[in-house]
Amino acid sequence: MAIDETASANAVETERPLKVRGLQAWYGESHVLHGVDLDVARGEVVTLLGRNGAGKTTILKSIMGVMAKRKGSVLVNGYETIGLPSRLIARIGIGYVPEERGIYASLTVDENLMLPPRLKAGGLSREQVLDLFPNIRERLTSQGTKLSGGEQQMLAIGRILRTGADLLLLDEPTEGLAPVIIEQIGRIITRLKQQGFTIVLVEQNFHFAATVADRHYVIEQGKVIDMISNTHVEANIPKLQAYLGV
């Protein structure tokens, strides 16, 4: 039956938190994404790898609706979001950590943590977030931007875990951080994956990406040029190094 087929197709779509087809985006007049296709399954950790300026950050911004001009199709939990403002896209269940972390200077650490409203059931409680990031607990009354870079990153991740969002977009969570902090963030991503979160991660640090991700999309000039499963990553190291220019 045609109806049954549609119903089961919808069921598959809601099982897939993110499906991107032919995504294009512009900064003013300049065309920066040229038809990006991505598929992310529930519970997967996927990275976007690529050189500086390849369009990785722009892909996350376009999914989140921060880019003013975009075209194509972005299905989040089965809902088409391409025409929606970011505040409604968030309500479908996405949490976003921007590259600059976006900790507010005019809010205390606690206010930063409690700022994002609960969007749906299933989010972590304030206590659970603080258990995950014990460093933050001691700094709750400080001004948000008085935290160290690593603590700001943890706060930026922690605050979206409260909302009930099950798809997390993390833009370079390890950028500029000390190795010991990077390890800590890696452990947290692994733990979030075990708890069933779906995560899309922009990374420059391919070694870090290989420790946490299931699959890697390679981005170049606003397009996906390759997809490598993490199980095949060892065999593909020369190819990846060529892509990333390292």
């Binding site: 970011s86 505040r87 409604l88 968030a90 005019s106 809010l107 206010e111 700022l115 969007l119 909302t163």
Partner: protein
């Protein structure tokens, strides 16, 4: 009779009270301007017209409908606030993507239209609004006679200012406002309705101006120019205090009212210009204002 710096203490204290009264209006109006500027990034030139409209709504309520001062304290700000929200939603919001200068010009135009409408209907001579029965008379403090209504205005404005500060700095709604002021695009990605916050904020700023207008109605005559006259000084207050800080706007408002009052005692010739002289000095030394953060 005791003298302070060769001035009879009654004169001095009388001018301090007068300074605090003016300071109350400066503080309430510059607070509204600062809140609006923070979130909308526009200088609300309609602020004086909104203050004047508040006074007129109170006058109309009393004279056409027999509704008293105490009810007007609620109804006038609500009316002007609603009108402000309509102006924001249907006019200012359409200019949000353009240079902020256009928002300034738009609100200036709205102010001129509103003032023109009132002048057309009521002339510019001004109308009296009686002090409410409960606040008539005064209290002899021993060193001076304090009219009850003036004491009420000072206490009520300080309370309103502190309440506003508390809501913005200490509550959850306030944290949304501060976040939207600092980074509106990111705040939206958390599912917070920033356009709605902007509309409500503009409405609140307009309502605050209208409330100051109701406070002013029994003190000054209700006339279409009362806002335009006052708003120039309030802009100077805002420049001196700096746009960034809520508490800064409140403190600067009261301080400059006091400075103006004291100037009337010690050098009356300068009392009308002293605020502008301070503005020039502050701009030379600290262009972002006393409490402002450099951009």
């Amino acid at each position: 009779m005791t003298d302070i710096f060769g001035i009879p203490s009654q004169v001095l204290l009388g001018q301090i009270v007068l300074g605090l009264i003016n300071g109350s209006f400066y503080a309430m109006l510059s607070l509204g301007l600062a809140v609006i500027f923070g979130l909308l990034n526009i200088i609300n030139f309609a602020h004086g017209a909104q203050y004047m409209t508040g006074a007129f709504v109170a006058w109309m309520l009393l004279n056409y409908l027999g509704i008293n001062y105490w009810a007007a304290l609620v109804i006038a700000p609500l009316t002007v606030g609603m009108f402000g929200m309509l102006v924001e939603r249907f006019l200012i919001a359409r200019l949000a993507h353009l240079d902020h200068l256009y928002g300034l010009l738009l609100t200036f135009g709205v102010a001129l239209i509103v003032q023109g409408l009132f002048r057309n209907t009521y002339g510019s001579s001004g109308m009296a609004y009686d002090i409410p029965e409960a606040l008539k008379g005064g209290t002899n403090l021993g060193f001076m006679f304090l009219p009850n209504y003036r004491a009420w205005v000072i206490v009520a404005s300080i309370s309103v200012c502190l309440l506003t500060w508390f809501v913005i700095e200490k509550t959850r709604l306030g944290s949304y406002l501060r976040a939207a002021t600092e980074n509106p695009a990111l705040t939206q990605t958390f599912g917070i309705n920033v356009p709605l916050l902007i509309t409500l904020t503009y409405g609140f700023g307009a309502a605050l101006a209208a409330l100051a207008g109701v406070f002013a109605a029994p003190i000054y005559s209700v006339n279409p120019n009362m806002g335009a006259d006052l708003i120039i000084v309030v802009f100077a207050v805002v420049v001196i205090g700096g746009m960034g800080s809520i508490m800064g706007a409140i403190i600067t408002g009261f301080m400059l009212g006091l400075v103006e009052g004291l100037t009337k005692v010690f050098y009356p010739e300068a009392s009308a210009t002293v605020i502008f002289i301070i503005m020039v000095l502050v701009l030379l030394v600290k262009p972002a204002g006393i409490f402002g953060r450099p951009a």
